[in-house]
Amino acid sequence: MEDFLARYGFLLVTILQQGLLGLSLYFPLMAGQLSLASIGFYALGGYVAAIMGTHPELEALRESLGFFMYPLEWLAALAVSTALGLALGYPALRLRGIYLALATIAFVQIFGVVVLNLPIAGGAIGIFDIPQPFESRLAYLWFFGPLLALVLLFLWRMERTGTGRLLRAIREDELAARAMGVRVTARKVQAFVIGCALAGVVGAMSAPLLNTWNARQGTFDAAVACLAYVLIGGARSKWGPLLGAALLVSLPELLRPLQDSRMILNGVVLVLACVYMPRGIVGLFAGRSAGRQA
């Protein structure tokens, strides 16, 4: 067991972390909005935590707070991500479908260029020597585990109350939702901002885990990977992004014995999954409620 955890502990932590990023895309998707902005907010949250963890002028604060510096970093990342999410959400969510996806990708790219040229973000080198609260990487389950539980509880409650039904109505038929009195734009922004805030907090938790933080944390590739979790896992269930992340994060590890050809097989699995599981892994189990497909 100990051997297993030593070997796969980091993998487990990565699955939770990536699953949470997948869930951050799931929030806007509940209202039918395809956003790829999460990875930008993940990078933003990471920078907030990295700066707060390393900036010399905050030394006194870190001394006095000790471990509680980390929750403070999360809160700061939450606040900054929420503010930027609101600022981005109102104009961006006037766009629909592929245009919203493109606009959010543009945001991710612009953000990458901006931090590259921002002295406080350390330029191309980024920020390194970020303080780490735990010796072992497995211990970061104490960060991501409770956050995941909280997010799932939040989603579970949300889906069973008015807000969840309103978001679903927007996804089903935006025009009809409008005609039924739903403040469609405000609701979309709400769902989008929750996703941004979550991605920001995940970033803040990830900065100590990775020990360094730079502009490579928020790339187009990473954004597409997050989207793949949702698509492979299933975009219509909160379990989808988690299952997708678990599969896609562990697949390269499981295929490691194949050495160089593993990435090819990895790609093949992705393509086959898209073709044969259009509703994701979760869709395979939900086959019984056939009427919903009509």
Partner: protein, 257 residues
Amino acid sequence: MSAVLAARGLSKAFGGLMAVAEVDLEVREGEIFGLIGPNGAGKTTLFNMFTGLTKPTRGSVRFLDRDITGKTPDAIARMGMARTFQNIRLFGGMSVLDNVRVPLHALDRAGLLRGVLGTAASRRHEREALAQARELVEMVGLGDRAEHSAASLPYGLRRRLEMARALALGPRLLLLDEPAAGMNEAEKDELSRFIRAMRDRFALTVLLIEHNVPLVMGLCQTVAVLNFGQIIAKGAPREIQNDPAVIEAYLGVAQDA
């Protein structure tokens, strides 16, 4: 009787085409008002301007003595103007009950955090919305299918569900876009009875678009005829039926004249 809905000089141009031109219309409280006219006469465009889905090129709309020209569709809906769609637009993947709950939540402004935290106010709202939705669903005869998905319903029941959903807004004015489309005679009779019953029960004013002239003549107190975007006749069904302009628009020019 005062006017619930009043249009003044309402016009809509799509490019060079005047879809609706200078329409003046008053719908009085408590009446069932029929809007008829051939295909492409501008009936649905007029509906869309009333409900805020289409912005008029000129003119104004007053609803309950307030100018609603340029207001958003959701704001107009919350003021008490509910509608159904010609091509039925339900939330297909959601249950019958959830479809009816959506407008109730929209009216309550269902708070996200209140809901997630399950505060007393939000639990009370959820309880009331559920009870109200159940009542409406049962009233339209869908009680035993409350948990079915809307998309799984047969055509006729979808129409009823759409009406129940509109009624959940607690409207003062109900706009029905071709409610009898695809119905047989028996179903049309039942629909007429249903619309009257709803009007009486909820103190509604009803404005409906319909192709089926006998249905409109039997059901409506006032009828307006739209042709090429203009109102060519307006009045009680009996007057309309004998109006030469209407006969010409609807039946073509009388050959033996």
